[in-house]
Symmetry: C2
Amino acid sequence: MDTIIEFTRGIPPNKSFAFEKLSLCAKEALTNYPEKILQYAKSSGFLPLRESLAEAHKANPENIIVGTGSLQVLDSLLQSYPHGTLRVAFEEPTYDRTVIQLRRVNAELLPCPLSTSGLDISPLKAALAEGKKLDFFYVVSDFQNPTGSVMPLEKRQELVGLARDHGFYIVEDLPYRNLRYNDESIPSCYDLAPEQTCMMSSFSKLVAPGLRVGFMILPEPLVKRTAQYAEMTFINPSYVDQAMVYEFIKHGWLEEHMEFLKSLYGHRRDVMAEALEAHLRPYAEWVRPDGGFFIGSFVKQAVEAEKLMKHAQSHGLKLTDGRGFYTRGGDQFVRLPFCALEDDQIHEGIARLAETLRSYPA
Amino acid sequence: MDTIIEFTRGIPPNKSFAFEKLSLCAKEALTNYPEKILQYAKSSGFLPLRESLAEAHKANPENIIVGTGSLQVLDSLLQSYPHGTLRVAFEEPTYDRTVIQLRRVNAELLPCPLSTSGLDISPLKAALAEGKKLDFFYVVSDFQNPTGSVMPLEKRQELVGLARDHGFYIVEDLPYRNLRYNDESIPSCYDLAPEQTCMMSSFSKLVAPGLRVGFMILPEPLVKRTAQYAEMTFINPSYVDQAMVYEFIKHGWLEEHMEFLKSLYGHRRDVMAEALEAHLRPYAEWVRPDGGFFIGSFVKQAVEAEKLMKHAQSHGLKLTDGRGFYTRGGDQFVRLPFCALEDDQIHEGIARLAETLRSYPA
């Protein structure tokens, strides 16, 4: 057996970072306006970057909070409510770290099943019909983590309608939206109803994760509470990183870099989709994603996550525990990130996964 | 009346930042090891910086967590406990943001009075005698924020003894420790009992606040829980900033820069002490601090904070609300930061404060 192949975290490959350009961005920021980025500052983030984001997303800069990654802004939003008072719905499977944050604030969780045939929001509708008040619906509508699926326009419209009628906010997490490898973009929930949507996104996948620059565009009633929570937690995020991202955008390098990334990742998506067709049809279902970092595979046979991971390990494969993306169950879910792997690793990895499932001890 | 003089936040002046050196640090880090600082990484911070801190503080790098300022690491520590389960003692007055963080986790608060005659820990002793379990004692033992006072060695020893006997941890916040302008340093609680102390400090006052690099050295049982909370909140802090601080230290520039700061701030401390002697003896008590950013003044006459601030404003002076540093009361406390003001501003400001108090409407 050669080296272990990892189908684990969704991290960009080191070769996707524009080292030299970022170094130039840091130099420009620290030379041209050092006092703006080295002093204590507002918790909501570096104003020129917020203005640039506002222009791109037709928002008011005052409604934008930039943090140490978008996950941090979500945490500030959630923590700004009294402990144990929130009720939050979400797709299941969903991004594991969000569920951990929801559990930490002791939120009531309302998962809605997501499968290869789409999102089933009947649990949400049932709760609303019972008169339950919902605070947030968390959704990764483009190239979902972990399934790779895209929510159809009609479903977005339906969700937005429910949010308006029942007075809840959609938290729309869109870190992969700009990484679309084919077809046209669908209007986001934020596009459809900005006043009802907390849209979060990040430069982690578009520039570099280590810069830790993510943001949320919030409806007006949620801005101050979130910024205040952030201020009392860390005063303000690093402005050096935010200024680097701002300079990167100002130079027009973001557009150019996204083309490079789409070409890099689009090819890897194709390679993984081919490998899956070649090896995995007998064992799993999936939807070929139009973008993002992941293909989510639903294993047909009954498997136990721990046993599966151990069995995979003996076939030279490291998998993520599917149960992390579920509040209950998830044993049969395997997330397959293609972004950081070379072609031969993808082919070999999927072949090993097929063999793992073929030989899975009954 | 000329411009308003602000005795408000304790922020370093822009002229204290080593712009060019920091720019060089960023360049070196982004050129020599970009993949180490631009990728997702461990929540506990950039290892070379942690190793450098470990050497300076005779600690294990594994016990050090570097965050977006030290306040953030404190928040992660506090939040890692179930909501509403902590009991925490502290000096009163104390750093206002810490009290806000304690209130957020619904901690039981046990303030111990601090005055010009020192810290009175009888409330702590009484609680311990009643068999109450204490989790933490938060203390700014060197050049306290907001009073400027230094805790005497005997008190540190007594506190450490109580911590050992009763199994609580001291959270020792030392951002000003290296800014001593006369006499010799006293051993910190951390020096006396590292196994009983969470020692936090920061480069905000020594390099630049905007870099947002602070740290905590934790006893082994508290490390993992704190790092995990941080990971689930923001994955990892910015490593670019941490690498800039690391390079700054590696070049020997921190030592050199601290000498510059001590000379700058020591002079300002002298100017403010002189101005206070010249104008404020009839109206207030204070202790001339041996370091740090602040002189804490206790007003002799009965004043109400809101009325005092308003009256000061009419004399061209902006004050901080003293009640922020207290859980109850604080109307008669005025924090006087000297770090960011020029000599003439200090003189004029203290003269205005004396006039504010002289003419305070009874």
